[in-house]
């Protein structure tokens, strides 16, 4: 899915009004894996929510394949994932995964079946278990499986792994890439781990503190799998840190 963002601006109502995003302009090609980094409170989550049609922008426009997000969302082409796996505790694993398909999808070709999706993430055997029985990492895998059933060509991920421990996070990062590769949807991945951004994305957008602006747009041309020790990795890491250091005191590794 191609994304075009023109003069996007957003403020939250209140006394006084809080401007979250100053003018943002950018274009994203289909199949790009884009990471969005920035200090806390810079508006990266707000940015993502606007694209996901969870918020109405105060100004500017967002075009997904030339259409408004409302239309695209109605076709179930946008997959949303956040820090919380958002699983319904009263449904089984299988039912949760199948949930996306329940809302009268207008797509002619739904994605993978629930079973197949679960197999891809390695949870096939837990089909009849309940989410409360799964670990944090398994729950996020479940959320991923749910996305796989949607045949969505835009994945919007708001720090999905930041609640997990480091080892799980690393493992899931690798698994995510494996799931992404055969489908190649456009991915917008918000994170405050620069390290994770470099691992995953072929393009990194850097945002300034609120009101957020795009202050950096870096292509990442490293080959996969990306090794931390590699000098190219390290130099990119330093560059990004410096860039972020200039815009805030807070840097997560």
């Amino acid at each position: 899915m191609e994304i075009e963002i023109n003069n996007l601006q957003h403020s939250f109502p209140g006394k006084p009004e809080r401007e979250a995003l100053a003018e943002i302009n950018c274009q994203i090609k289909p199949g790009q894996f884009v990471a969005i980094v920035g200090p806390s409170g810079c508006g990266k989550s707000t940015f993502l929510r606007l694209i996901a049609n969870l918020l109405e922008p105060s100004g500017g426009e967002i075009l997904l394949d030339g259409k408004a997000p409302v239309e695209i969302a109605a076709q179930r082409r946008i997959a949303w994932m956040s820090q919380s796996p958002a699983l319904l505790p009263w449904l089984t694993v299988g039912e949760n995964v199948a949930l996306a398909q329940r809302f009268r999808p207008q797509v002619s070709q739904p994605g993978l079946s629930a079973e197949e999706a679960l197999r891809r993430v390695g949870l096939r055997d837990d089909l009849n278990a309940y989410p409360s029985m799964l670990s944090g990492g398994m729950q996020q895998r479940l959320a991923l499986a749910r996305i796989l059933t949607m045949d969505a060509d835009l994945w919007l991920m708001d720090e999905p792994f930041s609640a997990l421990d480091e080892l799980t996070r690393e493992r899931l990062t690798i698994e995510l890439l494996e799931l992404w590769r055969p489908l190649q949807p456009t991915v917008l991945w918000v994170t405050h781990h620069i390290y994770e951004a470099i691992r995953l994305a072929d393009r990194i957008l850097v945002m300034s503190p609120a009101p957020g602006r795009l202050v950096g747009d870096i292509q990442v041309n490293l080959p996969y799998p990306r090794n931390e020790p590699a000098p190219a990795f390290q130099s990119l890491l330093l560059d990004l840190r410096a860039m972020l250091g200039q815009v805030s005191k807070q840097i997560a590794l």
């Binding site: 969870l54 319904l88 329940r102 409360s132």
Partner: protein, 252 residues
């Protein structure tokens, strides 16, 4: 102390209490019209099974029917307010007015208008039970995990889908919390309503027994009410575990 132990402890406490009561009455030679011994109360109960069975059936029937109607009214009203949030203030004000009206004043009026049958009792228990249910379910319908809300909105789910798949299941734990409050209330309400005029039921039996200063009869009725109240509560907890299995109960 695990569940099994605490249950046994509870039973032991009850038995000790009963034993002390029995001993106290016997040793102090307290006449039955002041305080009957548990053995006498039990004897009275066993000697009149048909009378108590019928009275229990009537009162429990009134309580359950009123409870059902109260829950229905509370739940429907809560659902309605969720779909039309603008009306919440107005409706809640009315509901609080209803709740604040003392039953003691309303019950005799209802008896006067509707007679001594079961209808006024059902209305009273309905009025008693509907408010906790309304407040609790309204709470539950609003307390939705925001992450789940985001998910549903990202799917462009309509108001009805959100209600049926998200709000309703989220509200179920609250429904049971309300039921656990309302069920005992309903029982008490039915009994109190019967005191203002009834052709049958445990409340009537209690009133008749008291005005005859037949305390053993009175206490036997009270015993039945206590047992039923406890049983009702246990039953609700049992159903709750099966229906709302995903939530740890807040209190037992």
């Amino acid at each position: 102390m695990n569940n099994r132990h605490s249950e046994i402890a509870a039973w032991v406490m009850i038995l000790v209490f009963l034993a002390l009561w029995e001993l106290g009455v016997r040793m102090l030679q307290i006449p039955p019209y002041l305080l009957p011994a548990p053995s006498v109360v039990l004897q009275t109960l066993i000697a009149n099974p048909a009378v108590y069975a019928r009275a229990t059936f009537i009162t429990v029937g009134e309580a359950l029917t009123g409870l059902f109607l109260g829950v229905l009214a509370g739940a429907v009203l809560a659902a309605f307010l969720t779909l039309f949030p603008g009306l919440e203030n107005g409706v809640m004000t009315l509901a609080i007015l209803v709740k604040s009206t003392p039953l003691v004043a309303v019950a005799p009026l209802l008896t006067l208008w509707l007679g001594f049958g079961v209808l006024p009792k059902i209305i009273i228990t309905g009025l008693l039970t509907f408010f906790p249910v309304l407040v609790n379910i309204l709470s539950g319908l609003h307390q939705i995990d925001p992450a789940l809300m985001d998910l549903f909105q990202s799917w462009r789910a309509n108001r009805w889908d959100i209600f049926w798949h998200l709000r309703l299941p989220s509200a179920l734990p609250y429904l049971f919390a309300a039921l656990k409050i309302s069920a005992p209330l309903a029982l008490i309400g039915a009994v109190v309503a019967e005191w203002t005029g009834a052709s049958g039921g445990l409340g009537k039996t209690m009133w008749m027994a008291y005005t005859n200063l037949n305390l053993p009869f009175l206490f036997a009725a009270i015993l039945i009410l206590a047992v039923i109240g406890a049983f009702l509560y246990r039953f609700l907890v049992w159903i709750e575990k099966r229906t709302v299995f995903w939530v740890q109960p807040l209190q037992e």
